[in-house]
């Protein structure tokens, strides 16, 4: 993983946590629908459990870069490094 990559967890626009991607941990954040469980492990992060209806955030699985978004529960998890998030200026699809 890029050195210094960090995980930012935001709820309803407010930054709740910033963790190094290298540090395994699980954290729960409360959004309007309830508690979203976010897991960091082996240089990857995912939404492990979510109170939302569609579970798109959970189905996205593990990411090493980019973002997982739970629109219903207003949770955004982004992975960013000091050098940016990789070789691409955008992702289409």
């Amino acid at each position: 993983m890029p050195r210094g990559s960090e995980v930012r967890i935001e709820v309803s626009g407010a930054l709740r946590y910033t963790f190094p991607l290298s540090l395994d941990r699980t954290v729960a954040v409360d959004g309007p629908l309830g508690s979203t469980l976010i897991e960091i492990r082996d240089g990857k992060v995912r939404v492990k459990e979510s109170p939302c209806h569609n579970r798109i955030c959970m189905h996205q699985g593990w990411i090493r870069s980019g973002a997982v978004v739970c629109l219903p529960n207003r949770v955004i998890v982004t992975v960013s490094g000091p050098g940016g998030k990789g070789e691409f200026d955008g992702i289409s699809g």
């Binding site: 930012r8 593990w62 978004v69 629109l71 955004i76 960013s80 992702i91 289409s92």
Partner: protein
């Protein structure tokens, strides 16, 4: 995310995500600044090249404001949008709308003509009965009934009064298959007005670039693999495409779908049948304008790989088609600009 995604639930504008300085040490002192926000129920990311962080932040803020303004006009779901006003007056009276809404409906009709109706914004009633969240197949009788309400030829435009009229009761337009590309174009206009010379407006996967990166290189856009090998964003790229002043949009059968009895039902509906179009896994279109890229990715998806590729060629725009078996083809214009990562 270019498909007929119903992205306009409500204009959210939740949060300011990150302001990242992405590169440095260029001759003119320009660097890239990038911010993301949740808007239109998706992630909107604005990237600008600037030598001043203050100028970059101000430009990005204006870009987000423009996004929200247009989303409010064009939303399918908002009670107060112009699209809702048009739909409510179907079969009753023409509705006078803003220049932008009129302009976009006119462009959508152009795409409908060119695709022989494979792209059609009058699929609103059909989209209403497909529930991709819960994976429930609508009854065929309902599909057939709603299909009869589609038909772009029954949209009447008055270019003097700037009015839109849906001629039959029950008709509804949904601009979700073309609006994000249009908004990307408009956001780029706003950025240019603020003096920004290069940047990227990304309405999720509907992306418009302009100018050169501070290092002089073209913008590099990754196209998602419609069937990723692993649930890992890093392994999720089908192709990398590099260009300067172009837009790209992708329509894919993997964005919103359910699988029932081994059949994948996704959100890109063929207006003629009322059911999901079967010929492709994904279609990416690269064109000068975002509205063209976004409109045609859906239409070409519905036409299928063969007709779709020949339409791209006749229009003189570029594209990448992944057919239903996973075979990847792309137009000659992309040679030297594209790098296929996975097949």
């Amino acid at each position: 995310m270019a498909g007929m995604t119903r992205v306009f639930h409500k204009a959210l504008a939740l949060s300011l995500l990150l302001l990242a300085v992405l590169s440095s040490c260029t001759p003119g002192g320009e660097r890239l600044f990038k911010k993301s926000r949740l808007s239109m129920d998706t992630i909107v990311t604005i990237t600008v090249a600037s030598s001043s962080e203050t100028a970059a932040e101000a430009a990005i803020e204006k870009a987000f404001t423009e996004t929200e303004r247009l989303a409010a006009l064009l939303s399918y779901f908002s009670e107060n949008s112009e699209v809702t006003a048009i739909n409510r007056s179907a079969g009753v009276r023409p509705v006078v709308v803003s220049r932008e809404t009129f302009d976009l409906v006119e462009k959508a009709l152009y795409v409908s003509e060119k695709t022989g109706g494979a792209f059609d914004i009058t699929v609103g009633p059909l989209m209403d009965i497909w529930n991709f969240h819960d994976g429930v197949l609508p009854p065929d009788s309902a599909v057939q009934a709603k299909r009869m309400l589609a038909g772009y030829r029954d949209i009447k435009l008055d270019s003097v009064r700037k009015s839109v009229f849906l001629m039959r009761k029950g008709m509804k337009i949904d601009l979700g298959g073309i609006a994000k590309g249009y908004i990307a174009d408009k956001v780029v206009e706003v950025l240019k007005k603020t003096g920004i010379k290069a940047g990227v407006a990304a309405m999720a996967g509907d992306i418009k670039t302009f100018g050169k990166k501070p290092d002089g290189k073209p913008w590099k856009i990754g196209v998602k693999n419609p069937r990723p090998l692993a649930k890992d964003a890093d392994a999720d790229i089908l192709a990398a495409v590099s260009f300067y002043d172009s837009a790209i949009s992708t329509a894919g059968d993997y964005e919103r779908y359910f699988i029932k009895d081994g059949i994948r039902y996704h959100h890109i509906l063929d207006p003629k049948t009322g059911y999901p179009a079967g010929g492709c896994r994904s279609v990416s279109v690269i064109a000068a304008d975002g509205v063209i890229a976004d409109g045609f990715d859906n239409g070409i998806f519905v036409l299928g790989p063969l007709k779709g590729m020949s339409l791209l060629k006749s229009l003189g725009i570029d594209g990448i088609i992944v057919d239903s078996a996973g075979a990847v083809t792309f137009t000659d214009g992309l040679k030297g600009k594209i790098e296929i990562r996975e097949k």
